[in-house]
């Protein structure tokens, strides 16, 4: 998921870890944990279960509609769980718990920023997405514009988002699995890549959806269990918990007050915008809205998803606070038994240590299996979204101009999945020792700046033309990428320059308005005959968007 800083801290932690392991100093002793049999056993059960589901799903995946959108037959409750499963990654569980543990309420503020995009997606987008879309969000942006050009652009920015996100997930996965299961980084990557390819190529969206649903349930169950067990130590009293946490934490009473994290208003607003509208521009999240039967179910999915996400964030917040006392005061979890020193396995292990402290090896094994399952569910959703951009948008609509047979498109989508899987594993191996935090900033930045403005304008603004969409979309893509490259996470951390040229971490506050402006100005200047026809066509599109008349329906089996 989508935790920006959490992912960053996860990736950063992992990166530091890898480099120290590389240096061969004392810390490298803990880089690879002893092989954890309980965790591997539980994960094995999860894999068997999901493979059985994939086998079942394969028999129901015959058409392109089955492959991309599970035939459009998913219910709102199922989709809500799957969206939550898609949105809450290992970084949510591990990174945000760790952040709460070290920074207190700052992490809670962060979680609100991650949550707040959901109501807005519901109010402004959910029903229109469902009523206008079929397989990819480019179906909507290209609805009344030039198919070839607009789809190509949407597919390019989708693939940029998917690839960077995928690599960030893969690198995090490799580091995490090394820590939790004691497997080699390379082996971990191949296991993740191979399982993802099996789920997606054979089971398509049906299997991916169920992997996400099962994982969401495991995550909710695991997190809730840890919190309940932990809270028994504080008589279920928030005040007892926080009083003891304040006593021992180096922040003292500042633990429960906003700190330095979002002290700069430009950073705070840029981050808020980036998370809010980035979420609304992530292709794998948008795609989930096409899997439900109608606009009614699309709305219900957001209701379930946002409820689950809000609940889980609060669980994570409590986990982080409880860990301050239960993990932070126990020498067993520190290097050399020194509680002022480093946590064994790095900061991201706080949630895992807490599980072990309150529930022994069984709960630790379960939570480790959950973390692995989480990675699989997230990469599967990403791979499917990437594959659909290649096979549906580029191959079927742009190259074959809609003349490809369904069979050929389906075959292409499977090749695309395998291709993406291989690319993800190779890039994951290549970036092992690098800090990949910038990739997540980039994914969100591009989603908010290239995908979101064109998508929302295509649904709301009659005046949008092909030229305007292309200008805004490409400018958004280019400016988001450029600003991230000039920011600290690439300019300083990757290229090694002394100071960043762009002082903020999130480009959205600058690149998103730029994309909107370019789209609107160029559209307004466009006096071509094609533009006239495109504006004319808005009327019919508007009726369909509002009423769902003519919307893609669920395929029957």
């Amino acid at each position: 998921m989508r935790a920006l800083n959490p992912v960053r801290s996860l990736a950063l932690g992992a990166g530091l870890f890898a480099s120290s392991a590389f240096a061969g100093d004392a810390i490298s002793q803990t880089a690879k944990q002893p092989i954890n049999l309980t965790a591997i056993g539980m994960f094995f059960i999860f894999v068997l279960m999901t493979l059985a589901i994939t086998y079942w799903a394969a028999s129901r995946t015959k058409s392109t509609a089955d492959f991309y959108t599970a035939g459009g037959g998913i219910t709102g409750a199922q989709n809500g769980l799957a969206i939550a499963g898609d949105y809450m990654s290992a970084a949510t569980l591990l990174g945000l718990t760790a952040m709460m543990y070290t920074r207190g309420v700052d992490a809670y503020i962060y979680m609100i920023a991650f949550f707040v995009g959901w109501p807005v997606i519901l109010f402004l987008m959910a029903e229109r997405l469902r009523n206008l879309g079929k397989f990819t969000f480019a179906d909507i942006t290209a609805y009344r514009l030039n198919q070839g050009k607009v789809r190509t652009m949407a597919a390019i920015s989708s693939l940029v988002v998917v690839c960077f996100y995928l690599v960030a997930q893969m690198v995090g996965a490799g580091q995490l699995i090394k820590l939790l299961f004691g497997l080699d980084y390379g082996i971990a990557l191949v296991v993740v890549g191979a399982l993802m390819m099996v789920y997606v190529t054979f089971g398509g969206m049906v299997a991916t959806t169920w992997v996400q649903i099962i994982k969401a349930c495991m995550l909710l169950f695991g997190g809730t269990t840890v919190v309940i067990l932990a809270m028994t130590q504080f008589n279920f009293s928030f005040d007892e918990l926080t009083t003891r946490a304040i006593d021992v934490h180096k922040l003292g009473t500042k633990l429960l007050a906003p700190g330095s994290l979002l002290a700069d208003p430009v950073t705070a607003i840029s981050l808020g915008l980036g998370l809010m509208f980035g979420t609304a521009g992530l292709p794998h999240i948008l795609m989930r809205f096409f899997t439900v039967t109608d606009a009614k179910e699309a709305r219900k999915s957001v209701l379930y998803a946002s409820g689950i996400v809000a609940y889980f964030f609060n669980v994570v917040a409590l986990m982080g606070l409880a860990a301050i006392i239960i993990v932070g005061q126990n020498p067993e979890y520190f290097e050399g038994g020194d509680i002022s020193g480093a946590i064994i396995g790095g900061g991201n292990m706080v949630a895992m240590h807490l599980a072990k402290a309150v529930g022994g090896d069984i709960l630790l094994g379960f939570l480790s299996a959950v973390a692995f399952a989480t990675i699989l569910a997230v990469v599967s959703g990403l791979a499917l979204a990437g594959a659909s951009a290649i096979s549906h948008d580029i191959y079927s609509r742009v190259i074959m101009k809609g003349k490809a047979t369904e069979k050929a498109e389906l075959r292409m989508s499977k090749f695309a999945t395998i291709g993406l899987g291989i690319v993800a594993v190779l890039l994951g191996l290549a970036f092992e020792k690098m800090n990949v935090a910038f990739m997540v900033a980039l994914a969100f930045g591009v989603a908010a700046s290239a995908n979101f403005p064109v998508l929302i304008l295509s649904m709301y603004w009659k005046g949008l033309t092909t030229r305007g969409a292309l200008a805004g979309g490409y400018l958004g893509l280019f400016s988001a990428v450029t600003l991230v490259v000039l920011s600290k996470s690439v300019w300083v951390d990757v290229f090694g320059f002394a100071a960043p040229l762009f002082p903020y971490t999130q480009p959205a506050l600058f690149s998103m308005p730029l994309a909107f402006l370019a789209t609107i100005i160029v559209s307004n200047m466009d006096t071509s005959r094609a533009a006239e026809a495109e504006r004319e066509a808005f009327g019919d599109q508007y009726v369909r968007a509002q009423t769902g008349l003519g919307a893609a329906t669920a395929s029957s089996h």
């Binding site: 309420v105 809670y108 503020i109 979680m111 609100i112 920023a113 949550f115 707040v116 959901w118 109501p119 807005v120 519901l122 109010f123 402004l124 029903e127 928030f238 005040d239 926080t242 009083t243 304040i246 009473t253 500042k254 429960l256 007050a257 906003p258 700190g259 979002l262 002290a263 700069d264 208003p265 705070a268 607003i269 808020g272 606009a295 009614k296 709305r299 219900k300 957001v302 209701l303 946002s306 409820g307 809000a310 964030f313 609060n314 009327g539 019919d540 508007y542 009726v543 369909r544 509002q546 009423t547 769902g548 008349l549 003519g550």
Partner: protein
């Protein structure tokens, strides 16, 4: 779907009514979320001391935590309000509009 059906719906005064009512409701709720959330973000940036205050003498809980919890709960309740009204009242009206358009086809 034929352009004629779309044109017919566009000319149906009930359609204008549906679009206006649902749009107003959606933008109203979005505005609440935007205003509350970005006010909170600005408070974090400019008035962290205010958020650090403890409103109850007997509890550690701060205004910042309460504001966060309030947002999680109230934003979710807003989504509940929207879903209930859109899936009920608005969808009934929507169905009536589509039915009217297809009736005229016969």
């Amino acid at each position: 779907m034929s352009s004629i059906a779309y044109a017919r719906i566009r000319n149906n005064p009930q359609f204008a009514q549906l679009v206006a009512a649902r749009g107003r409701f959606a933008w109203f709720l979005s505005a609440i979320v935007f205003i509350v959330f970005f006010s909170f973000v600005l408070a974090v940036a400019f008035a962290p001391d205010f958020l650090a205050q403890r409103p109850f003498a007997s509890s550690n809980i701060t205004i910042g935590i309460l504001a966060g919890l309030f947002q999680f709960i109230s934003f979710w309740l807003l989504t509940l309000m929207y879903v209930r009204r859109a899936n009920g009242e608005f969808d009934d009206l929507n169905k009536a509009i589509i039915d009217a358009a297809s009736r005229e086809d016969k």
